[in-house]
């Protein structure tokens, strides 16, 4: 598939893009997280797209997934309204505060903290301790 974006032309390999996006969406909807951190590497490495195409387009693709996943979870009775009302404003606050803090901290330090944190969380989920 050929794509034109701000005067540049790109080829998108759909044989990688579609199965990859599909699998990420299954996992994302199954566990209830956003697929962003997986979609961005897929589009950057798998589809060889530059960052400026990815930032907006990946968000749009994920939005479809979140919409469908949320509707399906609602249909299966997995949605708890009270719980949602408690978390929703907090998520919006995080969305506002986060970028302001992000400007002041080194992204590499943040990533390293995240790696350690995610590893600990993964180990406790896998019952390693």
């Amino acid at each position: 598939m050929k794509v034109e974006f701000w005067g540049q032309e790109f080829k998108v390999n759909l044989f990688i893009g579609i199965p990859g996006a599909f699998l990420i969406a299954v996992a994302s909807a199954m566990f209830g997280f956003g697929g962003g951190p997986f979609m961005v590497p897929l589009m950057a490495v798998g589809l060889r797209l530059p960052m400026y195409v990815i930032v907006g387009s990946s968000l749009l693709a994920i939005f479809f997934n979140t919409l469908m996943g949320s509707a399906r979870h609602y249909g299966f009775g997995n949605f708890d309204p009270t719980f949602f009302v408690l978390m929703f404003p907090a998520a919006i606050i995080g969305g506002f505060v986060g970028p302001r803090i992000a400007k002041r901290v080194s992204p590499i330090v943040v990533k390293r903290v995240a790696i350690v944190g995610l590893s600990i969380l993964a180990a406790s989920l896998l019952g390693l301790f």
Binding site: I18, G32, F33, H73, D80, A122
Partner: protein, 408 residues
């Protein structure tokens, strides 16, 4: 003459007394029922946000007494039976689902059975409700969850792929329903000690007492208590109420009470960090909520829609300056819609243990991706990429501004 009357009265009383002793008037008292009945009472009518209520009573001598406690509030319990059937050697793949599982359930057994509980506890995750009931003689006392109407679906791989629960099978008999309710109790409450306690103290004369402990996360509302020996010999249904007050709130679908500030502060802190690290909050929030004891289905189904708003505003902001390739976004989006259709079905099918295991693997992959993003080679490339990204963003914003000025 007066003395004669007195004699007559004394003799009459004596005869009455003897007749009474012989049991002439006894049919009014029904001695059989007296020994075959259980009387019981609770020491308080209500609890505030959990606590302990004592049940005391009197049962026939030398019989084991079980105390069943359940809440009026009902929640969902579901389980996929995929274990190989010993008779046919095939995996049944039957999905059991009920919406009538009590939100709180306890079956207290006589303290002499604490060994039987230990034995099951040693099995770890493989403990079984039916074996435990059998070993403690409590099978007949297991009644409240057995009354929950269970639907069962014949699931196939194909049904899961198209995101359906499968074919609804014919309703089960009362006996079968009870048998299937046992693993559902385990699926819902997970831990043996949450449901079964060997705390009924029975004295030789048949009097008994037991503490009914309600954790602070128990649902509010009415609770029912019955002391019983078997299906027929039981006390009246006693009732008490559990009140919760601010800041405790009850999550109806999750079936538990929670301090409302906990999910709020947790979400705010984790989403903030998630945004800073560029991965969103769900990766950290979901495992923590699940480890707090919330059902994984409710966690996945409720956290997911919280990001819709921020995604929506993000898309709006990029679309305003024409910084989205709709061709790429929609093409990949269609593949993701298909994935989003199937995913939630799988959440329902997997057990909590499987959810944790698979999530653990996902997090390892994410950590590896992040590690790759801190390698010098990547950082150098990323620096260039970010510079180009900024340049293009600037152009897009300028173009938008020009258009607006032109529009004037």
């Amino acid at each position: 003459m007066k003395r004669q009357w007195l004699k007559l009265i004394i003799i009459s009383i004596a005869i009455f007394f003897l007749m009474y002793q012989d049991g002439v008037f006894a049919e009014e008292i029904k001695p059989e029922a007296a020994t075959e009945r259980i009387t019981a009472q609770l020491d308080k009518p209500s609890l505030k946000g959990g606590g302990t209520i004592m049940i005391t009573g009197k049962a026939p001598e030398g019989k084991p007494v079980y105390v069943e406690v359940w809440s009026e509030r009902k929640v969902r319990a579901a389980r996929l039976d995929s274990e190989i059937d010993k008779e046919t050697g095939k995996r049944p793949y039957i999905f059991y689902l009920t919406d009538e599982m009590p939100g709180f359930y306890n079956l207290l057994v006589p303290s002499v059975f604490s060994d039987a509980l230990d034995e099951q506890r040693k099995l770890g995750r493989k403990w079984s409700v039916s074996a435990l009931l059998r070993n403690t003689g409590a099978t007949a006392a297991f009644e409240a969850p057995a009354k929950a109407k269970i639907d069962r679906y014949q699931t196939t791989l194909w049904a899961s792929v198209v995101g359906s629960r499968g074919e609804l099978l014919s309703p089960m008999t009362e006996f079968e329903n009870k048998r299937r309710a046992m693993p559902l109790v385990k699926a819902k409450f997970r831990d043996l000690d949450v449901v079964f306690k060997a705390t009924v103290e029975i004295n030789p004369d048949g009097s008994f007492k037991a503490p009914i402990e309600l954790p602070s996360n128990a649902p509010p509302g009415k609770y029912y208590v019955v002391a019983k020996i078997d299906k027929d010999i039981k006390s009246e249904t006693l009732m008490f109420e559990n009140f919760i007050s601010f800041p405790q709130v009850y999550l109806g679908n999750a079936g538990r009470t929670i301090n409302m500030f906990v999910p709020f502060l947790l979400t705010a802190a984790i989403t903030t960090f998630g945004v800073i690290m560029g991965a969103g909050g769900g990766f950290i929030l979901n495992p923590i909520l699940v480890m707090m004891g919330l059902p994984h289905t409710v966690v996945a189904g409720t956290v997911m829609p919280t990001v819709l708003f921020s995604q929506g505003t993000g898309i709006y902001n990029y679309a305003r300056i024409k910084f989205i390739s709709f061709k790429v976004g929609i093409t990949l989006g269609l593949a993701m819609v298909a994935g989003g259709f199937i995913g939630p079905k799988l959440t329902e099918l997997i057990t909590l243990a499987q959810y944790k295991f698979l999530f653990g693997i996902v997090l390892i992959i994410l950590a590896a991706l992040m590690f790759w993003q801190t390698t010098p080679k990547y950082l150098e490339k990323n620096k260039k990429e970010q510079a180009i990204l900024k340049e293009f963003l600037r152009r897009a914003q300028e173009a938008k501004q020009k258009k607006m000025e032109g529009g004037k």
